[in-house]
């Protein structure tokens, strides 16, 4: 999808003003953190597992080339084919070629953020192939022709009324008098509509939560079972995954899986965790005849060896989103691209450039809640600060702001001058604000007083008073 991250402030404003979004995020913002906390409380080893998960990922990235080659070797030995894609265009082309080779008309899809990243659906549609999203949330937003607003719950910004509206508009053959006002009815309708698509699909495309180097396997984690129907029924299964999904062994995958569902939804384990290795075996009664893996770089290799390498540990669990007061205030669409929330603030500039996505790393109070819940301990605020540092040295910061900081520093390095100026300011503002105790408006402080009052200073500076106190003692 084309980024709109430059319009972050306007997008955020739209999110803050949207009553449907407010209600929807209100439900999510309390539910997810509570459930995660309960799941963590049930597992005494959770903290230790975070450290192990971090270590596994760090080790893998430090040997990523080795593990990718091992992975490819094992996929091939299992009868699969690996395609390497440097960027979005190569990835799209690889998928399209495979689809064309079997004259695919209908393609079912499991949820895949990297497929969003490379804008796969649009590309397939332009080439006469119909992609059908099967994850319920993805299906809903596909009908509404909008992007996902959350990396594991794509339709989290909607209430059931919006879903009903979308279903009525899209499922035109069904009885208009039917009642689909409640979640069970909507789910039942989606199940009935999508089942024939699963059965008719020529190709099934899934993402991968993990790729296992030891065995050449891919692992998908779902609750609905849509990923399994997507990858088992059609003749061809395509896995699309970015490089850093690689994990060395089955045992390493088990450790990361213990962290994933608990961090994402607060479940002990998702309903379906499925490991696939190659196409159907001789004698198998079902399963795809072809198994392809499209490995996507699209900016990951460039992150290795730099300040953002640790971001490659990300498991895409969305714990950081769910706990972020900025995300739960403005929603995912405000971030303007595929990846919202704190992980999006760090990853998006790395993939599409900080000139485009500069706001994302700035719209944070650095509260640190994201880092505290990240299952693999990514130092998200520090990395957002690195983006700010890049913007500063690359002069992407407003000149007045730069100038202000330089002036502040110049004065701050001259304590006596600083103290004199602070005392003047304290006396002036203290005097002006004495009777009301606060300012509704203040010159040069519009950014503050726009949304809150400014309490008046007490009227003297601490250093002036302290100096007086010390003199009085003698």
């Amino acid at each position: 999808m084309d980024p709109t991250s430059r319009a972050f402030i306007e997008n955020a404003h739209a999110g803050l003003a949207n009553p449907v979004l407010r209600r929807a995020l209100g439900i999510a913002g309390t539910g997810f953190p509570a459930r995660r906390a309960e799941a963590v409380a049930r597992l005494p080893e959770f903290e230790a597992l975070r450290d192990e998960g971090k270590a596994i990922k760090d080790h893998t990235i430090a040997h990523l080339d080795y593990y990718l080659e091992l992975y490819e070797k094992n996929v091939t030995a299992a009868g699969g084919v690996v395609h390497w894609a440097r960027d979005a265009a190569e990835a799209r082309a690889a998928v399209l070629d495979i689809c064309r080779s079997v004259d695919a008309r209908i393609v079912t899809k499991g949820k895949s953020m990297v497929a969003e990243e490379i804008a796969l659906n649009d590309h397939l549609e332009r080439n006469g192939i119909t992609p059908v999203e099967t994850d319920l949330g993805e299906y809903i937003i596909q009908l509404r022709r909008e992007p996902p607003s959350h990396i594991i719950a794509p339709a989290i910004h909607l209430m059931k009324e919006q879903v009903e509206e979308a279903f009525r508009a899209a499922h035109a053959d069904l009885d208009p008098a039917r009642i689909i006002a409640e979640a069970p009815q909507l789910c039942a309708e989606a199940r009935a509509i999508l089942r024939p698509q699963f059965l008719a699909a020529d190709v099934g495309i899934t993402g991968a939560n993990f790729l296992i180097a030891e065995t050449g396997s891919s692992i998908i984690v779902t609750n609905e079972g849509n990923g399994d129907l997507t990858q088992t029924l059609p003749k061809v299964h395509i896995v699309i995954a970015s490089l850093e999904k690689i994990v060395p062994t089955l045992e390493d995958a088990a450790t990361l899986l213990r962290l994933l569902a608990r961090s994402a939804t607060g479940q002990e384990f998702s309903s379906y965790t499925t490991m696939s290795t190659g196409p159907r075996r001789p004698g198998d009664l079902d399963g795809p005849e072809q198994y392809h893996v499209v490995l996507v770089d699209n900016g990951r290799s460039a992150m290795i060896g730099g300040e953002f390498q640790e971001m490659l540990r990300c498991l895409r669990c969305a714990a950081c989103l769910n706990h972020c007061p900025v995300y739960t205030a403005i929603g995912g669409h405000a971030y303007g691209w595929v990846y919202p929330g704190p992980m999006g603030a760090v990853l998006t500039p790395a993939l599409i450039g900080v000139a485009e996505a500069g706001h994302l790393a700035n719209a944070s109070s650095f509260c640190g809640r994201c880092e505290s819940v990240c299952p693999v301990k990514i130092p998200l605020p520090n990395m957002m600060r690195h983006w700010r540092e890049r913007q500063f040295t690359q002069r992407q910061v407003a000149p007045t702001y730069r100038g202000g900081l330089e002036l502040w520093t110049w004065v701050a390095r001259r304590p006596e001058l600083y103290h004199a100026l602070v005392e003047i300011k304290a006396r002036l503002l203290g005097w002006l604000g004495k009777s009301r105790g606060r300012f509704r408006a203040l010159p040069l402080a519009g950014g503050w007083t726009q949304v809150r009052d400014m309490p008046a200073p007490e009227g003297r500076s601490f250093h002036a008073l302290w100096a007086e106190r010390q003199r009085a003692k003698r």
Binding site: T409, W448, V451, M454, E458
Partner: protein, 256 residues
């Protein structure tokens, strides 16, 4: 009582300008805990605004001044989790590429503390002699909470204040939306976070909200005031030092 120690007070730029009472409350608490308090004159700012704006050079310049000004004291104490966190956690990060400064930064970091955790964890203070009749609720400022593990200590000390009822704040650990420059660069989002915070505060029924960071307190008091609320806002040090009768809450008219 633990041995007498020399403590340098890191005033913080906000306390200096807006509310010296917090500084004096801190001095009283430290002296009551057996500390000799010195206020180095050559301090102005900890450098956090520059640091969080990505301006490492200016942040380093200010940090060098701080490191020099606070050399030689047993401890450095700030009535602010975010300033203490800047020195304790971020100064070593800032000088990661300068070994000589890094050593000095680490040495300073090791003796730098947020006020309430210093009183409880280092000086072993379990009770204060203050009394204050009323109900309060407490907001956990993010840096203090997550960088410095300030959580139980304020609650322990508040429990010892005669006549005080502490009502736990739902979402106490959720950011109030200050975040330094964030509050003015993204005012609409900051305002929304503040609104959510004051709604939680109001729901407790407490007369007064406390926190350990003046940045948070200006944000919360400013939003409460804009909303026409009568809930008071104070720094926890004012309550622990027994100043609530003599110093008006934040943002309230002064009668002198």
């Amino acid at each position: 009582m633990a041995e007498q120690v020399r403590v340098a007070l890191l005033v913080t730029c906000l306390v200096d300008l807006f509310r010296p009472s917090i500084g004096f409350a801190a001095v009283k608490l430290l002296e009551d805990a057996g500390c000799t308090v010195v206020v180095p004159r050559a301090q102005t700012c900890c450098g956090q605004p520059a640091y969080n704006s990505g301006d490492k050079n200016d942040a380093k310049a200010i940090a060098r001044q701080v490191i020099e000004a606070f050399a030689g004291f047993d401890y450095v104490v700030a009535p602010s989790g975010s300033c203490a966190g800047m020195v304790r956690v971020h100064y070593p990060e800032l000088f990661g590429d300068e070994p000589a400064m890094l050593a000095k930064a680490e040495e300073l970091a090791a003796r730098t503390w947020e006020l309430v955790s210093f009183l409880a964890d280092v000086r072993g203070v379990k009770n204060v002699s203050a009394s204050c009749v009323g109900s309060v609720t407490y907001h956990d400022s993010c840096s203090g909470l997550r960088e410095l593990r300030v959580k139980a200590q304020p609650r322990q000390l508040l429990a010892s204040v005669d006549g005080l009822t502490l009502k736990e704040l739902p979402g106490a650990e959720i950011c109030c939306g200050f975040g330094g420059t964030f509050a003015v660069k993204y005012p609409e989002i900051s305002g929304k976070m503040a609104s959510d915070k004051i709604a939680d505060i109001a729901a407790t029924g407490a007369d007064c909200v406390l926190a350990g960071d003046l940045g948070c307190l200006l944000q919360i008091a400013g939003r409460l005031s804009r909303a026409g609320s009568t809930i008071d806002t104070r720094h926890i040090a004012e309550v622990l030092a027994g100043m609530t009768e003599t110093v008006p809450p934040i943002g309230v008219p002064r009668k002198d």
